[in-house]
Symmetry: C2
């Protein structure tokens, strides 16, 4: 059992890996119908003739799915609180893909004005079952310091 993580625990290079979880066509279509209703995300037949050449998850679905995997595998004290991020989708997420997230601490920045907290920069790569990168996320997260 790992305890909760504070800024002092999150040294540069520390690595976290989530379990793998499958994303199915039904979920892709349901998410997109609500948030990103475009044929390449909602209609397998119509998707064939598009940029994606087949059904693909909304990038925001891949992002939300990644968040779910992060919440289960990165036990930061106070929770996962993002201030901002850079995100890219080097390749589409397809129905049946099994995704996992590998995260690495890239920077640790104590706050100058708030001695009780800081930020980390975290690289989170969302990989599919072929170890191909479906999403690259570099996020800044607010992290509390251990009480001294």
């Amino acid at each position: 059992m790992t305890g909760l993580l504070y800024l002092e625990d999150l040294t540069v290079g520390r690595r976290f890996e989530s379990p793998e979880r499958q994303l199915d066509a039904d979920a892709i279509i349901a998410f997109a119908s609500e948030f990103d209703p475009q044929p390449f995300h909602t209609d397998p037949a119509a998707a064939e003739g598009t940029f994606f050449q087949g059904l693909a998850a909304s990038g925001w679905h891949t992002a939300a799915f990644t968040m779910r995997l992060l919440v289960g595998s990165l036990p930061i004290a106070g929770g996962l609180i993002g201030a901002g991020a850079e995100i890219s989708w080097p390749r589409p997420t397809r129905p049946g893909d099994r995704l996992r997230v590998v995260s690495t601490v890239q920077d640790v920045i104590p706050s100058r004005s708030r001695p009780d907290r800081g930020q980390i920069v975290l690289l989170s790569e969302t990989l599919n079952q072929n170890d191909e990168i479906a999403q690259r996320l570099v996020s800044r997260m607010v992290v509390p310091r251990r009480e001294t």
Copy 2:
């Protein structure tokens, strides 16, 4: 009735505004229960004692909700296809907030290798009913050129 937009139509400074749409507590809790199950997104009472000091939407929910507003208000030919983005959340989205998205074309980049397409850089600010910025998104989108 506006026609579909091609790269040639998307000049720097061109502006698009979505209709306003309300985000309710039920939707905030449902989204977070599936994708971002942390107390400040799922439990109004427990949220009081957290960083957010009350229920707040997951940032990924604000992002997905923004996408829904963009899909309805930015008729790019071929659809809205993001290659990547920078995203930040200057303030939380709260239950009952009425959000709208104001987007401005910041750059237009014809592809050197593919004469049939290009990219735009689009700033999309998600504003609440008090004109406060809940999300700032700068995205790169793939846009087709008009056939000549």
